[in-house]
């Protein structure tokens, strides 16, 4: 039981630097996903300004080394980009409802 | 470029003289620090008045007395300004011997916005477009026969559009 305890402590002790290192790669993954989604929104000619703002915030946080914030912002950017994609696709038909006939 | 400087220093001398006389005469209601420039009739730019933050000080600095509301002063101002940067305001009055008309916006950084000198023979009515920082009372003060009359109206001001 004791060895397990020590091992886990070591793990936790040793982990943060690994965690920080891996969260940089996590950030890169999250940021790339957000950028890809926003690119797709661009191809549908329907990007949102808030997506771009979240991407900038993510990059700024990453530059400052705050990867948790950077990942959070990237996730937010991805969500916003996905919402703008959904908006573009659903509006393809939905606009007719408002049309004056 | 030098002329405006000594023009201001001339004004300062004028004010100081004014302050001296006021101190002697001991008019109670004028706070000592705000010695009034002489009646607005002189042609110097009322620098002090335009620096005053609130309305009462600006009126005191400009005219050296307080105004009383009068229905003979008709202030025309919008209810909701279409935009705070261009608010059309105008005034007309049936008072006679009008020598000066001034517009003040209490909520602006400096209350005094404009002060017009009305020589004899000029109709006591002015229209202009002013800037307003936020919803505020707009007051017009008319100096007629040496006495001050005023009218006040609230004008609502907000930004427009959905904000971005």
């Amino acid at each position: 039981m004791r060895n397990l305890l020590i091992a886990s402590l070591l793990l936790i002790g040793g982990a943060p630097s690994a965690l920080a290192a891996s969260s940089e790669t996590d950030f890169k993954v999250a940021y790339a996903a957000a950028e890809a989604a926003n690119k797709e929104a661009g191809s549908l000619r329907n990007q949102w300004t808030v997506t771009a703002a979240a991407l900038n915030a993510a990059k700024k946080a990453a530059d400052a080394g705050d990867f948790d914030k950077a990942i959070a912002s990237s996730k937010e950017a991805e969500a916003l980009a996905k919402a703008s994609i959904f908006q573009a696709t659903s509006e393809k038909e939905a606009w007719k409802a408002l049309e004056i006939r | 470029m030098t002329t405006p400087d000594n023009e201001f220093s001339a004004t300062r001398r004028l004010i100081l003289q004014g302050a001296a006389t006021v101190a002697l005469v001991g008019l109670g209601n004028i706070p000592f620090g705000l010695a009034p420039a002489l009646a607005a009739a002189n042609d110097k730019y009322p620098e002090e008045a335009f620096k005053q933050k609130n309305e009462a000080d600006a009126i005191k600095s400009l005219y050296g007395k307080t105004a009383e509301a009068s229905d003979k002063v008709k202030l025309d101002a919008p209810e909701i300004a279409e935009n705070g940067s261009v608010v059309p305001i105008s005034v007309s009055t049936t008072l006679i011997d009008v020598t000066s008309i001034s517009f003040l916006v209490s909520e602006n950084p400096n209350a005094l916005v404009a002060s017009y000198r009305i020589p004899a023979g000029t109709v006591p009515s002015v229209a202009n477009r002013i800037k307003m920082a936020r919803t505020s009372n707009v007051t017009v003060v008319v100096e007629a026969g040496g006495k001050l009359y005023s009218a006040t109206k609230e004008v609502k001001v907000t930004v427009g559009g959905c904000g971005g």
Binding site: N46, W95, I100 | P78, I80, S85
Partner: protein, 287 residues
């Protein structure tokens, strides 16, 4: 037995009817009928605002609110776009370095022609707006193009609009499938929701004209471009149709396109066409 078959028969009939109904509007929407659209568009607004005279729709918010109308009348006595108009007039006939001027690029030397813009250019197969034509005239004569959003472009379009004041909008859609497609694309843009606020042009200018959006009163879509270019107190300066489109986009948190991208040219084509018959009133003053 007969009861069940009757039910069967009834449900089949209903299903058939529903299917047919669903097809019908589908069919109607596919054929593009600008003339019917324009008639319906005008009727929608004249029904919604019976007291507003047809030609007064071009005054936008000022026809929707008495207090605003008075403020506008005061401004119109000596309008803030006066300087831009004079600059435009001066620039319009000043020759380029090669001796030509804008007058050589436009029919009737550019006087009283604004109401025909935008038009469909069959050579290019696209809509050409007044701002685009002005910049193309400059480039054709070896001059650098102006910004599409304000200053010189606003001054030039202000002068051209001024020379057309009172002339009804006269936008033509040639019998060319590409023109109909551009018109339809413009209509679709007008009704499509965008931006995080999820508004379309129609959300504000069809569903709620006359109502307030904070301090501003929303203009009806009918005649909404007739006063362009406009001096907006908000900008404390002049702005062209392009400036209005791009700022509207960013206000609803949609990323704007570049001025004169196809979408903007087409929506201007649609909006101008459905306002045919209403007088040009530019340059205008707006809140």
């Amino acid at each position: 037995m007969r009861m069940r078959s009757a039910i069967h028969f009834a449900s089949a009939a209903i299903a058939l009817a529903l299917a047919f109904a669903a097809v019908l509007p589908g069919v109607a929407a596919d054929t593009i009928d600008p003339v019917a659209d324009a008639r319906a568009f005008r009727k929608f607004f004249t029904d919604k605002f019976p007291k507003v005279k047809l030609e007064d729709f071009v005054n936008g918010p000022y026809s929707m609110d008495e207090d605003l109308h008075r403020q506008w009348e005061e401004k119109e006595q000596f309008p803030p776009y006066e300087f831009s108009l004079e600059m435009g007039k001066e620039m319009f006939s000043k020759p380029f370095k090669n001796g030509k001027s804008y007058e050589d690029c436009f029919p009737n030397r550019g006087i009283g022609v604004r109401q025909n813009y935008p038009y469909f250019d069959d050579k290019e197969g696209k809509v050409v707006t007044l701002e685009l034509a002005l910049n193309r005239c400059r480039e054709a004569n070896g001059e650098p193009p102006f910004s599409y959003v304000k200053d010189e472009m606003a001054a030039l379009t202000a002068y051209m609009a001024f020379t057309s004041r009172g002339k009804p909008f006269d936008i033509k859609i040639p019998n060319d499938p590409r023109a109909l497609a551009a018109y339809q694309n413009g209509k679709e843009y007008f009704y499509t929701r965008r931006g995080q606020l999820n508004f379309s042009c129609a959300t504000c200018h069809v569903q709620s004209p006359g109502e307030r959006i904070r301090a501003e009163v929303l203009a009806p879509a009918l005649g909404i471009l007739n006063a362009m270019p406009i001096y907006r107190s908000e900008w404390s300066g002049m702005g062209t149709t392009s400036r209005r489109f791009t700022t509207c986009n960013s206000q609803i948190r949609g990323v704007p396109f570049n001025p004169q991208d196809d979408e903007y040219r087409n929506v201007e084509y649609y909006l101008s066409y459905v306002s045919n018959g209403l007088p040009i009133s530019g340059p205008g003053a707006r809140p």
